[in-house]
């Protein structure tokens, strides 16, 4: 009787329940262990952003900029900038037991942070337009503004690395 109950599935319900509970518990612990992964991925994203920005910047001031390279880097920057706010889930900043320079101000002043991210995106779009129109002056001005929005955000939201 018991065996048939197990075999026909009625007795599998407790097992399913245990399995589901285990899965939830593991997902929970994976969330906790996921913090380093979140930070690591965020750093990789920002490195990609910096690499694209440098590559773009290196073309500025040249008599014959590589416009196709400029356009691809500009669209990469725009793509990354639009995703940037999603790299900062709550609890992934400094002071959560992981080495990061994401300052507490990001979550303390979320509207200001969102506005700064929007500014970055707007300026990235300007650069994309300048790249599409092959306008060296607009590119220089646009990328200068873009760079300033990087620095402006780092000033307000990036914790210092200093040891003193």
């Amino acid at each position: 009787m018991r065996f048939t109950a197990i075999r026909n599935g009625a007795g599998r319900r407790p097992m399913l329940l245990i399995g589901a509970l285990l899965a939830i518990a593991m997902a929970g612990s994976a969330g906790a262990a996921g913090l380093p992964q979140i930070v690591h991925a965020r750093q990789a994203h920002f490195k990609a952003l910096g690499r694209a920005a440098k590559s773009l910047r290196d073309q500025i001031g040249r008599s014959h900029p590589d416009w196709s390279l400029v356009a691809s880097e500009a669209s990469r920057i725009q793509h990354l900038a639009s995703a940037l706010p999603s790299w900062f889930p709550a609890g992934s900043g400094k002071g959560h037991g992981v080495k990061t320079r994401a300052g507490a101000a990001i979550w303390a002043r979320p509207h200001e942070f969102a506005r700064a991210a929007q500014t970055l995106l707007n300026r990235a779009q300007n650069v994309t337009r300048a790249a599409a129109s092959h306008d060296p002056r607009a590119l220089a001005l646009g990328s200068r503004a873009l760079g300033q929005s990087c620095g402006g955000c780092h000033r307000r939201f990036r914790a210092r690395s200093s040891w003193w």
Binding site: F46, G50, K54, R57, S143, C150, G151, R155
Partner: protein
């Protein structure tokens, strides 16, 4: 520049270009520190060019400046430096002769300081900031990763500079309180109180410093392709 005669019982030791380059470096170091710490890379770069110019000026002035500014006058060999250090810290104490300009240990510190500052400025020329934008003028010749490595070396060398500056300030305090020598005041107004007769150093005309500074300015501007 005709040698302004210091008050009675004092002797002129440091010429104006030497003092100016010293205090220029001090203030630019502060500006560089603050602008780097607060992500103001536009200003950090300009201040860094200033450091490069000031170090080059001091190096050149060490060959054509007044007697006390010349490397040939104050840089001593290891044996002489060791003899001086032994007398300075020896039990008989205060037995070390008091040189008019830099003492042999100070000379060593100056060489290391100028070398570190020149290294710092040079590393900065190739360094790339995290955002890829606030980069040195030569960063376009290197990749993002190499530029970041330069930036990390730039930061490590900065720690060495802080160490050396700490040592420098400690030494000034040591001379002030243990040897009663006011080095800080001398670097401000340029003269020292003791004047053994017949021991006045020679100085060079001031226009030489003006021409040298102009030459170095043009050299740095050409090097960095500033317009």
């Amino acid at each position: 520049m005709t040698a302004e005669s210091p008050p009675n019982g004092r002797i002129r030791v440091w010429d104006l270009p030497t003092r100016l380059s010293h205090w220029t470096l001090v203030s630019l170091f502060g500006v560089c520190w603050w602008t780097a710490d607060s992500d103001r890379m536009q200003w950090h770069r300009i201040a860094g060019y200033g450091v490069l110019g000031a170090v080059l000026f001091r190096l050149a002035w060490g060959f054509c400046g007044g007697q006390t500014a010349r490397f040939g006058d104050f840089v001593r060999g290891p044996a002489a430096t060791f003899r001086y250090a032994r007398k300075l810290f020896g039990r008989r104490g205060a037995g070390a002769p008091v040189p008019l300009g830099h003492n042999p240990l100070g000379a060593l510190s100056i060489l290391v300081m100028l070398a570190l500052l020149l290294t710092q400025a040079t590393l900065g020329l190739f360094a790339v900031n995290v955002d890829g934008f606030g980069s040195g003028p030569f960063a376009k010749w290197v990749s993002f990763e190499t530029g970041r490595r330069f930036a990390h070396l730039h930061a490590a060398n900065f720690q060495l500079l802080l160490l050396l500056i700490g040592l420098h300030l400690t030494a000034i305090g040591f001379y002030r309180f243990a040897r009663k020598e006011k080095l800080l005041a001398a670097m401000i107004h340029g003269s020292k109180p003791h004047a053994p007769p017949g021991e006045a150093p020679y100085f060079v005309p001031g226009w030489r410093a003006v021409w040298l500074a102009a030459g170095i300015f043009i050299f740095v501007a050409l090097l960095l392709n500033l317009r």
